[in-house]
């Protein structure tokens, strides 16, 4: 108890006893105590003067915060679709056998906890897992067991990288502060993000201009948000700037959680200075003196490296009181860690999370540009978007607009995984045809491609000649390729499971509707669907899409809607019409078994039910 009080006090003090830093406080408490129990919740609540139910609400919201004791090593195995395609279930069996526990459990000696987790941004090197903060990519069942044995044999080793990382990945993954096994798999560098550049040239040009001129340049380049929504960046900044005077905020959204997306991870590894330069220019254009980099919890392994680079920028005068010696322009960046919640990639949920709240999206209006972080005008921009900005300033808006297509200028990073031979990151001009991309990545006779992750759409061969751009096949970057033998409905069901897990639960349609969509989809997959279920799914999906409060629920029915549209044959092959009043959806054998278990005897009329069918 005394220890809890001390550790909580230290954790709160670290964040300046600021209740808006509750997420940081709780991450610190967990780092010190292993988990956040009732006593710790009470202590945090008392010290920060927050109702304890609010602290408990935050702890229970984020997947990476735990209110129960966990092992010294928490193994989080990624259960995203590419991992399942690469045999993660065998890795799971191997781990369960080796540890003698099931998923969701901890070993009795307090050494290990085993959990499933959503996409960790390693789809090109699946199956992948996190061992605490350490990423273990390309994990096979044998290797998984071997690593567990090593960890068990060397409990004295605190830096798990020493045991888990056999070989460093390429590029900066081998940097002394990173030392990760992660690979960049950068297959194609384009002109904007991974092209050759003169560092800080864009920033220096921007500072020689007025903020309004910088915004005009970005608008002339017709830069649109790279996170998926495609909102014009310059307009977003203008709105935030038009708000009242006083503090404004710039937030870089590095909560890359859309399953199958991992391009920001490669930016954060190979082009972090371009991002920081872009954030600084955005801060100047907006009139923001402070920026936050919201880094998803899954990328915690990059945190020390990014902090190291930020310190270097401060020392070089690129951040601080007078950026590049420019009088009157102060700007600095703080890294805000996330804690395992996909919905926090939604900009208002991200702001809630930065404020130490549950990651619930906020009602709009007011929009973040009017009242965002801590009630102040805020612009939230995607990492890739911010990286385009210095290049636009350096090379000119005309150069940028000459790349890509008319309404979709510039290049786009694609994260490609699944059934293809060259998985990885590709920087391509916007407007490229899907077919060309599939050739680039070595996809042999694909039957389907998930464009834009589960919130995007699953397209079939009929759509392969469409363009990847904001107005046709829009994508935040994820492309998962499916070859012959994959079942589109099975994939859709996995994606619905993801949305059920990641819904914040604030609004009715998303909280309940996704569960109902998955129920009916699974019923069809089990061979108990009937033709009328297709209309049922269509109507239900439309209700969830129309009535949901934020982008999560407005897009979560897309796996169902796009498969109904593009893979209707897969549904039709599974459903069967009711015959003679029988309902295919009703599993009489299962219901009778349930009744028998409750009553302790078989039904007098139907027996076990097998002969009924």
């Amino acid at each position: 108890m005394a220890n809890t009080a001390e550790q909580v006090a230290a954790s709160c003090a670290e964040s300046g006893d600021d209740r808006s830093r509750l997420l940081d406080v709780l991450l610190a408490v967990q780092r010190r105590l292993g988990h956040i129990d009732e006593a710790a919740i009470d202590a945090v609540a008392a010290r920060l003067r927050v109702p304890r139910v609010d602290v408990a609400g935050v702890v229970s919201f984020y997947s990476f915060l735990a209110d129960e004791p966990r092992g010294r090593v928490v193994i989080r195995l990624c259960n995203d679709v590419p991992d399942l395609m690469m045999g993660v279930e065998r890795v799971a069996e191997g781990l369960e056998e080796e540890l003698g526990i099931r998923f969701g459990e901890s070993t009795a000696d307090g050494s290990f906890t085993l959990e499933w987790t959503s996409c960790i941004g390693m789809s090109d090197q699946a199956p992948a897992a996190l061992f605490n903060d350490v990423v273990v990519p390309n994990l096979g069942p044998g290797a998984a067991r071997r690593l567990v044995r090593e960890l068990r044999a060397h409990p004295e080793v605190t830096d798990l990288r020493r045991l888990l990382v056999r070989e460093y990945g390429d590029g900066q993954n081998s940097h002394d502060v990173v030392r990760a096994a992660v690979k960049n798999n950068l297959r194609r560098a384009g002109a904007v993000i991974f092209g050759t550049r003169e560092p800080e040239a864009g920033l220096r040009k921007a500072l020689a201009m007025s903020p309004a001129e910088v915004i005009r340049e970005v608008k002339t380049a017709r830069l649109r948000g790279r996170g998926g929504a495609g909102f014009p960046t310059g307009m977003k900044w203008e709105f935030a700037r038009a708000g009242d005077t006083g503090p404004r905020w710039l937030i870089a959204n590095a909560d890359e959680g859309e399953p199958g997306t991992f391009k920001d991870r490669v930016i954060l590894t190979e082009r972090p200075d371009l991002l920081f330069e872009g954030m600084t220019i955005a801060g100047y254009a907006l009139g923001a003196a402070r920026g936050l980099l919201y880094l998803r919890g899954e990328y915690a392994y990059l945190r020390a490296y990014l902090e190291h680079l930020l310190a270097g920028r401060r020392a070089a005068g690129l951040l601080g009181e007078q950026v590049c010696g420019k009088a009157g322009f102060a700007f600095d960046i703080r890294i805000q860690m996330g804690a395992g919640a996909y919905v926090c990639g939604e900009e208002t949920a991200l702001i809630s999370s930065c404020e130490g709240l549950r990651g619930d999206p906020k009602n709009r209006p007011p929009f973040p540009a009017q009242r965002g972080y801590l009630g102040r005008p805020t612009s939230v921009n995607n990492v890739e978007t911010l990286c385009c900005v210095p290049r636009i300033l350096e090379m000119g808006s005309g150069w940028f607009a000459s790349l890509g297509s008319r309404r979709s200028t510039g290049t786009k990073l694609l994260s490609i995984s699944g059934d293809c031979t060259r998985r990885g990151v590709y920087e391509v001009p916007l407007g490229v045809r899907l077919r060309e991309v599939l050739e680039m990545c070595g996809a042999e006779e694909p039957i389907a491609v998930q464009v834009g992750g589960p919130s995007g759409q699953m397209v079939g061969t009929a759509d392969f000649d469409r363009e990847i751009c904001f107005d046709e096949l829009a994508t935040g970057g994820a492309l998962v390729v499916f070859g012959a033998g994959r079942n589109p409905l099975d994939i859709a069901s996995k994606y619905m499971a993801f949305f059920v897990h990641e819904s914040c639960g604030y609004c009715t349609p998303c909280r309940v509707g996704n569960v109902l969509l998955k129920e009916r989809l699974d019923r069809i997959l089990a061979g108990r669907g009937e033709p009328a279920d297709l209309d049922y799914l269509q109507a239900l999906a439309q209700t969830v899409k129309t009535a949901s409060r934020c982008g999560l629920g407005q897009t979560s029915p897309n796996p169902v809607l796009s498969t109904l549209r593009n893979f209707r044959w897969a549904y039709e092959a599974l459903v069967r019409a009711p015959v003679g009043g029988e309902q295919p959806g009703f599993d009489i054998a299962a219901r009778l078994a349930e009744a028998a278990a409750l009553t302790g005897r078989e039904s007098i009329h139907f027996g076990s039910g097998r002969e009924v069918r």
Binding site: V53, F61, V500, E502, C507, T508, R511, V512, A547
Partner: protein, 237 residues
Amino acid sequence: MTSAPFTLSVDGRAIAAQPGQTILEAADAAGVYVPRLCWMKDLLPSGSCRVCTVRVNGRPQAACTQPAAAGMVVENDTEELRALRRDLIDMLFVEGNHFCMFCEKSGNCELQALAYRFGITAPKYPYLFPRRELDASHPEVLLDRNRCVMCARCLRASRALDGKAVFGFTGRGPAKRLAVNSATGLAGTDLAATDRAVAACPTGSLLVKQVGYAVPVGRRRFDHAPIGSDVAPAAGE
């Protein structure tokens, strides 16, 4: 922002609105009923139940959070939106464990009343039968999470009207639950039976003990006129 009244159109009818009003407030003042559940007078809207979804210039919006604006074209009582609201009410029934036939709140329950108004006799979605905890620890108030619809009215009323913080939420998605501000249950909080938070519950999730079934059938809140009749008489009346 202008301070002059303005007009907007709701289902083709021009209604007057004051600056600062939401669509729902303006509609109420004009005698147009927009169905709602999580909305409650004197509280900031939460926009969570989505029952008040309308189309504004074609785009779906929650009427309780969307500010009214001059010239807005609002669709409210359309076949599409009636179906959408029915679906949402259905969802609220199947995600909890509601048992109207012996619930003390029957006849005074806003969820039940909405179902009647929308002609729902049985939900079209399968029941999810969630496991939810009951908290009978408080001497005067019962909390039955089986009947909770996550409207946050108790949560908001406790904070905004009672000056307390008795309620909150834990978990997320389908695992989201109403929680109380104490590790020992409702008895460990400073809740009083007279708190506005208790009366704010639209269903039988928060009940004052020892006064059950005090109002006989025939004299309950919704026995004679459907919910919303205080704003506008329902069709067929």
